[in-house]
């Protein structure tokens, strides 16, 4: 299944072009420039799919069959596409979202406009049958959000690296996927180049860890890290994105392009190793169960860190799937109080809104935060804020009211009550803002592998 063409290769270089759809569009450039200075197999990976992105893309595809791929595709890919193709840097990205074929068509158009005609590999088969009864998902859910529901928007499984390796095997210069496990974006290229056996669990785990360290872009290079005085990061405004050098034996070295900001050291790497990990002895992926409890992290020099000792165990029987469903609307209304006695006036305003909504919209769950006293550290029941409100004086408080419902009129009523504070609330209330946002919620299920049909094809080729 994996060819011997690169059997002599000892190091694969994989750079990160984006860690999420909203990532910086000028970050991939220095990564590509650095990769272009080297020989051997080189890849650039893009991770662009948050949990609910698939549902948004599914809705976009329903409205227009030529859409449904990541809206970030063009802005992330266009700046580096030509340079990658010229330098022989192959691209792997999950831009496909709900429509990998349409993403491939868009990439082909982009490339053509730049004078290129790349081979584009398309990985499909992670989307689950939309006709399957919701109850079958509910029976496999890790939780109870789907119980009693009759409609879902999207259901996609996190598939593994094999289909990505297959697409590269077909000669793809660019591989576009839908939902895949994020680390598979790096593991796929490693399987292709090194021809590791899928049962070589330690190497599968090493490739998975390399992908895990790359998948959030700057987060391993000093992004999501700086804490002035405690953890200083030089040049954060131009923080570099990571490049991993992976050896045939599974040794990983993380670095970043010269001339970029940020830092790569044992602290940035350790924090990212544990990011979104639960049991560090058993991180479940479609390809392997990863164990990092014996891993060693060594600083080799400036911005170079080596990771060894990651272990693997046989992959799980089931795949994780994300099922998205419509969940009404989120309403958010805000108003500010400042200066002497601001906290007391804000507290009074919150009481007024609560008292009126208890009469006018009984049953509507209302959350109240006071930015400047307790907001992100507050809890929805409000116990934290209640404990601080009487005692804490703040000269600048922004009250935030929020509620969720499928009844828009009810939420409008809530927002009207916030706006009504202008003339009928406490003294000096200003700066009202009101937002109503449609919501897609998501549930996680464990599904049979047979529910998916991972497949790699070349775009435009007869299948």
């Amino acid at each position: 299944m994996v060819g011997p063409a690169t059997a002599g290769t000892d190091v694969v270089r994989i750079g990160s072009g984006a860690g999420f759809a909203g990532d910086r569009t000028d970050a991939a450039g220095p990564v590509v420039a650095e990769l272009a200075r080297h020989d051997g197999p080189r890849f650039l990976i893009f991770e662009t799919l948050a949990e609910r992105t698939l549902a948004l893309c599914q809705l976009a595809r329903r409205a227009d069959p030529a859409k449904g791929y990541s809206p970030a595709l063009e802005k992330l890919l266009a700046p580096v596409l030509s340079d990658c193709l010229k330098a022989g840097i192959r691209i792997v990205g999950n831009f496909g979202a709900a429509n990998p074929q349409a993403a491939a068509a868009r990439i082909a158009d982009l490339a053509r406009a730049m004078g290129h005609a790349p081979r584009i590999g398309v990985v499909t088969g992670s989307d689950l049958d939309p006709a399957r009864p919701v109850a079958e998902y509910a029976a496999r859910e890790m939780g109870t959000l789907l119980a009693g529901r009759s409609e879902i928007v999207s259901a996609d499984a996190y598939i593994g690296a094999a289909a990505i390796a297959d697409a590269l095997e077909l000669g793809a210069d660019i591989v576009v996927t839908g939902r895949v496990a994020d680390p598979a974006l790096a593991l796929g290229p490693l399987l292709h180049v090194f021809g590791w056996s899928p049962q070589d669990w330690d190497r599968m785990a090493a490739g998975t860890l390399a992908g895990h360290l790359l998948e959030c872009g700057a987060q391993v290079c000093g992004g999501y890290f700086a804490d002035p005085g405690a953890k200083d990061v030089p040049g954060l405004a131009d923080v570099g994105f990571p490049i991993a050098e992976i050896g045939r034996d599974g040794t990983i070295t993380i670095t970043k392009p010269p001339g970029t900001g940020g830092r790569v050291d044992r602290f940035t790497v350790t924090e990212q190793m544990l990011y979104e990990i639960h049991d560090p002895a058993a991180y479940l992926t479609p390809d392997v169960v990863m164990d990092i409890t014996q891993a060693r992290v060594e600083e080799l020099g400036a911005d170079r860190v080596r990771i060894t000792g990651v272990k693997g165990k046989p992959r799980p029987e089931t795949l994780k799937a994300t099922v998205c469903f419509e969940a009404g609307y989120l309403a958010e209304g805000e108003i500010s109080y400042a200066g002497p006695n601001a906290a007391a006036r804000a507290r009074l305003a919150a009481q007024v809104v609560r008292e009126r909504l208890a009469r006018r919209a009984p049953g509507l769950g209302l959350r109240v935060d006071a930015i400047g006293i307790a907001s992100v550290f507050n809890d929805t029941a409000g116990a934290t804020l209640d404990g601080l409100f009487p005692a804490t004086e703040s000269a600048d408080v922004r009250l935030r009211f929020s509620a969720q419902s499928s009844d828009k009129a009810l939420l409008d009523l809530m927002l009207d009550e916030v706006e009504g504070l202008y003339c009928a609330g406490p003294a000096g209330g200003g700066g009202v803002r009101r937002h109503l946002t449609a919501r897609l919620a998501s549930a996680s299920c464990l599904v049979e592998r047979a529910w998916t049909a991972p497949r790699a094809t070349l775009f435009g080729a007869a299948s």
Partner: protein, 120 residues
């Protein structure tokens, strides 16, 4: 009586989320801090520190070779990023709530503080 020492002085932290589950990686600034934190920053202490969010379960995983701990807190994200009414449904800010945990400045903590001061 000596003033409590904030965990922030001895460790770094990073928050990650999956659904309604939060993980907080706690990385010692110096190896000398590991034993001091192992003794004081227990799963029970962390559960109490986050009590307002009613965690259904808190587990601490120890990673001595990485000088780190991983805390997993279940059901503390108000349903998670796609369901929470709060501003930070990911819980990304909560690493700094953990770092606000006060430590008893016992001998082990004082030794670790000295190591931090001489390292930096």
């Amino acid at each position: 009586m000596t003033d409590p020492v904030l965990l922030h002085r001895l460790a770094f932290a990073r928050a990650g989320d999956k659904g309604n589950r939060l993980n907080l990686a706690l990385v010692c600034r110096v190896p000398e801090a590991f034993d001091a934190l192992a003794a004081q920053v227990t799963a029970e202490r962390v559960a109490a520190h986050f009590a307002a969010r009613h965690p259904s379960r808190v587990v601490r995983y120890d990673l001595p070779n990485l000088n780190a701990f991983n805390f997993v807190l279940d059901d503390v994200l108000d349903g998670g990023v796609n369901a929470s009414l709060g501003l930070d449904g990911h819980g990304k800010t909560l690493s700094f709530h953990l770092l606000a945990l006060p430590l008893d400045p016992d001998a082990a903590v004082r030794r670790a503080l000295l190591a931090v001061e001489t390292t930096i």
